[in-house]
């Protein structure tokens, strides 16, 4: 079971700033373990973030994205107390969804 995403979403002047980190090994399939056995590829392929019904961000990943992917983006809209839903899938068919409440940006 994958660990929860860490997501922070702050709204200021009608723009929501989203920073997120997704716990995931992002194994490229290029590495070998101590015994020389190749470590199979295991990486997130797609991520979507929705504000209500509206898709605000999508990322498709290859194995060159770092372990525990970090992302930052901004979208117009969002209000304190509203929810964002993030969902990812990986190349093994594992998936996870997490929700975060938008906060007012500190003044």
């Amino acid at each position: 079971m994958a660990s929860p995403m860490r997501i922070r979403a702050d709204v200021r002047d009608g723009v929501t700033d989203v920073r997120m980190q997704i716990p995931h090994p992002m194994e490229s399939g290029q590495r070998k373990d101590d015994k020389g056995t190749p470590i199979p590829a295991h990486f997130i392929t797609a991520l979507e973030v929705r504000h209500g019904e509206r898709l605000v961000f999508r990322a498709d990943f290859g194995p060159s994205v770092s372990a525990n992917p970090f992302l930052r983006f901004r979208f117009k809209g969002g209000a304190a107390g509203e929810r964002l839903l993030a969902h990812w899938e990986d190349n093994r068919g594992e998936r996870r969804s997490d929700e975060v409440m938008i906060s007012a940006a500190p003044a």
């Binding site: 290029q30 961000f57 498709d60 194995p63 930052r72 117009k76």
Partner: protein, 154 residues
């Protein structure tokens, strides 16, 4: 299935043919869309990845900013920022020139999302990091050489 999809992509030269196949009911629209989202991720070199994105003739642009370090201290997590000031930007792709699979990420920006993104990538060795912007069907490109001391691929 994956192999079949790749062959379809190769045979058809991209999305257009898949769209046609979808129309003909050979592949479902969802399959065509899924295949389109993976275009370029199988490419083993930069030129092939750019071609798969349809960006082989991308023009250099001063309206796209790429932020990356000159020297990456930690090659397994190199911070990359891309900002597009090109109206109509709906995609930004980040590629790492000499990685085994150069295409790192493709970001989609629906209407209302600002065409800028920050993320972190692995670098196998010193290479050009390339950002490709799609705006109104045009492709714009900017790149920056990033040196790494110890490879971080893996």
């Amino acid at each position: 299935m994956d192999r079949k999809r790749r062959e379809l992509l190769r045979a058809g030269g991209g999305l257009g043919a898949l769209g046609l196949l979808a129309t003909a009911g050979v592949v479902t629209p969802a399959q065509a869309q899924a295949a389109a989202a993976r275009a370029g991720f199988e490419a083993r070199d930069l030129d092939a990845a750019l071609a798969a994105l349809g960006a082989e003739r991308a023009e250099a642009s001063a309206d796209v900013s790429l932020t990356a370090p000159d020297i990456a201290e930690v090659a397994s997590a190199v911070s990359i920022g891309v900002v597009s000031r090109v109206p109509g930007t709906d995609r930004i792709a980040i590629l790492v020139g000499k990685n085994p699979f150069p295409l790192a990420a493709v970001f989609a920006f629906p209407e209302g999302t600002q065409p800028e993104v920050t993320t972190r990538v692995k670098m196998a060795q010193s290479a050009d990091v390339v950002a490709v912007v799609r705006a109104n069907g045009r492709f714009l490109v900017v790149s920056k050489a990033v040196s790494v001391t110890i490879g971080g691929c893996g």
